[in-house]
Every structure is written in structure tokens, then in C-alpha cells.
Symmetry: C2
Subunit: 367 residues, 2 copies
């Protein structure tokens, strides 16, 4: 339990950050996000650099103004997206060269340039350029990527100090460090030591949830998160499913982001207190109950499963609006319950109760 302060507002942790890759949390307006209790969203420097591009962001006054969102924004540097480009990218000591997935144009991201662009975006929390090794990955390859991440971390920090000061002496942006080391605990522990030596405002665990079995992810989490500085925010990147969040909170993680609630919503999968539900399927066709009887969100107060299923089958945009809205509201409510249970010193009880119903559907690990 804690609070992260930014000039765009305070964030109560543990917090889930909806993903707004392309300057929009898919299907949602900022007002709707506020209505369900979203305090911070995630943007992506890689995507925004390619489209709409630096010039449009500059002209429109930064990302907050561009997308009409006045609360905090954390922006990822795009390191992970570039890593995912495979043959379209080449990593050198200078930085990451890549071809745009949109038009094939060539670009170079350096530790300096990603900081500069995120300052232009006006991010409240800036993420550094890192190198994320794939899974599976040999020890040497993982070590090389981790070492480069450390060297880049120093350059990220230096660029941040210079640029934040020159752009705005009162700049209140924070810079986080990203722990790498693949699935090798000693590499990750060293990464933590190196990053804390450099000194960041918060620490992220990168390179998990990249295809490894859940057991390995949980092991890494358990052996890494508790070693991060206790007085700084700890952020588990790209996670998670409700069960993963509960596991990570137990080990001290404060911040999460994941496309799952919005992506699943678009394929007709919704979250309920009794586990995930595929609302596309036939059993919902004549079901006049809401998605989740225990949920008090706008969608569950006003619409039946039958109607939402109809919309999805008819390819109506309102269908994915409603499933997205509900799934995000479900996540916000989960985080609220987690914070309350921590405050009331009964987190482990809450975790057990929630999981007992959540995994009763037998779909654990598939969401």
C-alpha cells in the first residue's frame, strides 16, 4: 500500500494501469476511465513515435493534451516492442535500429532519444530503453542483454537529468529502471544492484511474461521483487491476469499493466467474480442477467448478457465497448479490494477467497 505523487494527481498502489498504446485506451473515453476509477494509464513511445509522430505531439502540446487525459501517464520506451520486431530490428551499443511495422521506414532509438521523446510526450513516469532477451535464452545471451541494459540505464539516467532540467527546471517526471536477466536469478540480482547504484525513482521487473511457464514467472517474481528497494514503487511490466497480480502483490509489487482486460474484451471474453466467461457462446444467448451480478459498473447495471452477446455477434462496436468497460471496471474493483484488504491486514485471506472462485472455472492460466 502506498501513494505515488505526480503533478497530474496521486496514485494509490497497488495499481493496475490500462494500456493506451496509441494515445487511447481502446474503445474508452477519458471520462469513462475516470468513472471506473482509473488513476494512471500507460502510453507507448514506440507506437506514438511512429504515429502520430513527434511533430504532431509537439504541435498539440504533449500526450495529455493530445488525448484529453489529465491524470498521470506512464510511457514505456518501446524497448519491448522493438525486441518483438524480430528480424526488423538490430541492437548495437548505440541503440536499437528498427523498421516501422507500419510503413517499413528505418529508425534508431537510443537511450538518449527515448528519454527526449518521452519528455516531449510529457510523461509522468518515463521508462528507459532496455534490452529484453527472449524466452528461452541461453545464459550468455541473457547476460549480454542484461549488461547492455545496465550500460544503457546509465545513459538513460544521464539524458533524463540533462533533458528534464533543460526542458523544465521544475519538471516532475520520474525515471524508472528496468531489471533484466531473463530467467537467471543471479543475473537479475546483479541487475538490481547495478540499477540501485545508478539510482532511479522506481524499479520495474522487465522480461517476464514473455512465454515462460507460470511457475517460472512466479519463481522469478518471488526471488526478485522482495530485493527491490522498499521505498520506491515496484512495477511488474506487462502483467497481468488477476491471479498473477495477486501473486505479485504478495511479493511486494505495486504497479501493473496488461492488455489482457481490453484484448479479451474484444474477443468476447469477460471477467466475473466466478471466473472468466466467454460471452460469445450460446449459453449467454437468452441470459437476462448482467455479466457479473456482484459488479456495480455501468455495464452490469444496465445490460444483459443476452444483449451484449447479440451486439458481439452482430459485430456492433457497442459490444466491445461494453465488454471493455466491464473488464476494466472489474480490474479497478479488484485493485480496490486488494488495497482495502492490505489496509485491513487480511490480504492473504482475500487472495485465497478470490482465487477459490476465480479458478473454479478451471481456466486458470488460459486467460
Amino acid at each position: 500500500m502506498g501513494t505515488i505523487n505526480t503533478i497530474h494527481g496521486d496514485i494509490s498502489t497497488p495499481v493496475f494501469m490500462p494500456v493506451g498504446t496509441q494515445a487511447t485506451v481502446k474503445t474508452m473515453t477519458p471520462e469513462e476511465l475516470c468513472q471506473i476509477g482509473v488513476d494512471i494509464i500507460l502510453g507507448n513511445a514506440y507506437h506514438l513515435f511512429l504515429r502520430p509522430g513527434q511533430e504532431i505531439i509537439r504541435i498539440t502540446g504533449g500526450l495529455h493534451s493530445f488525448m484529453h487525459w489529465n491524470k498521470p501517464i506512464l510511457t514505456d520506451s518501446g524497448g519491448y516492442q522493438i525486441f518483438s520486431l524480430g528480424r526488423l530490428r538490430k541492437i548495437t551499443e548505440e541503440g536499437a535500429r528498427f523498421q516501422s511495422h507500419i510503413d517499413g521506414s528505418y529508425h534508431l532509438f537510443t537511450p538518449e532519444s527515448v528519454i527526449e521523446f518521452q519528455m516531449l510526450l510529457g510523461s509522468d513516469i518515463v521508462m528507459p530503453l532496455d534490452e529484453c532477451a527472449p524466452y528461452p535464452c541461453g545464459y550468455e545471451e541473457a547476460r549480454i542483454a542484461r549488461d547492455r541494459t545496465t550500460r544503457w540505464a546509465k545513459r538513460n539516467k544521464q539524458a533524463f537529468l540533462t533533458l528534464a532540467k533543460s526542458a523544465n527546471p521544475d519538471s516532475s517526471s520520474s525515471l524508472f529502471g528496468i531489471v533484466q536477466g531473463n530467467m537467471y536469478l543471479d543475473l537479475r540480482r546483479e541487475s538490481i544492484d547495478e540499477l540501485t547504484d545508478i539510482g532511479f525513482d522506481g524499479y520495474a521487473i522487465g522480461g517476464l511474461s514473455v512465454g515462460e511457464p507460470k511457475e517460472i514467472m512466479y519463481e522469478m517474481l518471488k526471488e526478485t521483487a522482495p530485493h527491490l528497494p522498499q521505498n520506491s514503487p515496484r512495477y511488474l511490466m506487462g502483467v497481468g491476469a488477476p491471479e498473477d497480480i495477486l501473486e505479485a502483490v504478495e511479493h511486494g509489487v505495486d504497479m501493473f499493466d496488461c492488455v489482457m482486460p481490453t484484448r479479451h474484451a474484444r474477443t468476447g471474453e469477460v471477467f466475473t467474480s466466478n471466473g472468466p466467461l466467454v460471452i460469445r457462446n450460446a449459453p449467454c444467448a437468452a441470459d437476462t442477467t448482467p455479466i457479473d451480478l456482484e459488479c456495480g459498473c455501468y455495464v452490469c447495471r444496465n445490460y444483459s448478457r443476452a444483449y451484449i452477446r447479440h451486439l458481439i455477434h452482430a459485430n456492433e462496436i457497442l459490444g466491445v465497448r461494453l465488454t471493455t468497460w466491464h473488464n476494466l471496471a472489474f480490474m479497478m474493483n479488484l485493485m480496490k479490494q486488494i488495497r482495502e484488504s492490505i489496509q485491513q491486514e487480511r490480504f492473504m485471506e482475500f487472495k485465497k477467497e478470490f482465487l477459490a472462485r476465480w479458478i473454479a472455472t478451471g481456466r486458470k492460466g488460459t486467460m
Copy 2:
């Protein structure tokens, strides 16, 4: 200027009815429609009969409850959709046999069955089954379709009287008649006489805007609308563009529906006080002004053309949400201005002023 009263609320005319074919006005929630001043929407019996079907509508308590819309609904019978099916339909005296455009299944709509289904939907304004001749069309073919429309009109009326009473003695649904006769004025004048002899709660002009030149549509309108009963609502089906609405209001039309504002929105075309604007295009890329500086809608208060163009290019659902929202708000505002100008006895002035700016872009007739 007038008011149509229904148990779901009153409707000030002239009115534009957004189209909600599949139990949703595309991309919009009912609350958003209320916010922009929508007092009545249009549903479609053909589409709803095929999906979700009678059983789901029955179980969920009718269309209002199904889609969470508490204001009036006019439902079209589906005559026009069946007519548009071409080879997939066959008209006999009994009714219209057709194959579903969704799964190829066979169905029969009769003047009686369309009334029954619309009563199940709980429509406030029920439309009869008519036969809409194509354009161009010979005189004899037009006369045959018009005559059948009249014979069906009698059966529609009889079914309505029987069913409305048996379903609910206090039923407050209205039944309209539909004038046919293609582009032959004498056929249309006779159609009006025949329908007024039967007696309906309102009268619609069908079979216009089916591909004929605007001059012909305007001629038909001018020579038909003024002959409809003055004390009943007059409804021009499937129209229209702002310029068509202004023309029709001049000749006494009270009600309109058209997919144009929502359909154009989805292709990135928006309405402004200075005429239509293709917001997809390059000139909007760095344009920090709203869609329409004179519009006070949620979209124009909060978003730039640059942002909306970005969303559309990035295939983000919020893009079509914002363009749809604005286009419908623009139409609602146009209708409000029309009603005010009639009240202030300066409608012809308003028409002239509006058109002078609207057609200045030289795109009249293309929207």
C-alpha cells in the same frame, strides 16, 4: 412544428431519428444519445427478426428493455430491406418470402406478421409492410407495387387493430401508412387517397432516395408531401442529408431517418457548419482546431481534428465513436435550429443561410 406524444415521451418535430438497425445506434450508448438530444430512434424489424430473433426479444421484455433505451422507438417493417434483397426474395399476394442475408434461412413476412413482431418489440410507431418498386421502373410495375401496398395497408391496419387490442387494451402504439407510386405523381396522389381512406396515425413517403436524381426526388416531395393530411405526422423515409431535410421541411415533412451521419462517420467524413469535411485527409493531420468551431458537442469541446484523424488512421474504435457522436450532435443541432426558425417564422431565411455555407464546399449531392 408539432409534437408527437408516446408513452415513452414526447417528440418535437421536425425530428431526425438516428438509425439503430440492430438494437444499437452504431457506437453510441443510450445515455450519449440522450445527451445530444435524441428523442426517438429507429429500429428495424427485418434485422431484429433475424438476429437476435423473436424468442430473445420476448425473454428480455421487448426492444426498449433489451437495448436499455427508454425513449420512443419507431420500427420499420423491413419491407425496404426485403426489397433490397433482389434475387433472395419473392413477393406474392400473401407477403414477402425471403432468404436471410445472414444464414440463408427461408422466412415469410406478411402484413399481419410484421405487425405482430413489431408489437412484440414494443414499438411506439409501427410501420406497415409495403412494396417498394425500384428506380427506374415502368409505370405498370409501379402501379402493381402501389396497388399491392394499398391492399396490404388494409391488412396491416386490421392486424394492428386486432393485435394491439388483444396484446394490451391500453396499447399506445401508432401505425403509419406508407405512400408508394415510384416517380409517378398520379400513382402517388392515388396512394395518398387510398391510405387516408383506410386511416392511419401518420403517413410516410416511401420509395424515394432509391437511386433517382435529386431533382426528381425534390419534385416528388414537392408534389406529394403537401397533399398528406395536415394534422398527422408526415415522415420521409430514409432521408436525409441536411440539404434534403431542409427541402422536405419546406414542403411540410415532420420526420426523417437516415444512416448517413453514422455511416459517413465510420469512413472519416464529418459535418461542419462550413460543409462536410473528410477528416481522414492530410490537411487535418496537424490541425489543432475541433471538427466544428461552432459546435458545442462533447467531441468539439475536447478533441482536435489532429487527434481524431490519428485515431482513424490507427483504426482505433474511439475514432469512429467521436466522429459518430459529432455527426449525430450536428444533426440534432440542425433540427433544433430548424424548429426554432419555424417558431420564429424565419425558416426560409435559415434554410438559405445554412445552405450557402453548407454547399460552399461544392460537395452538394455527394454526401
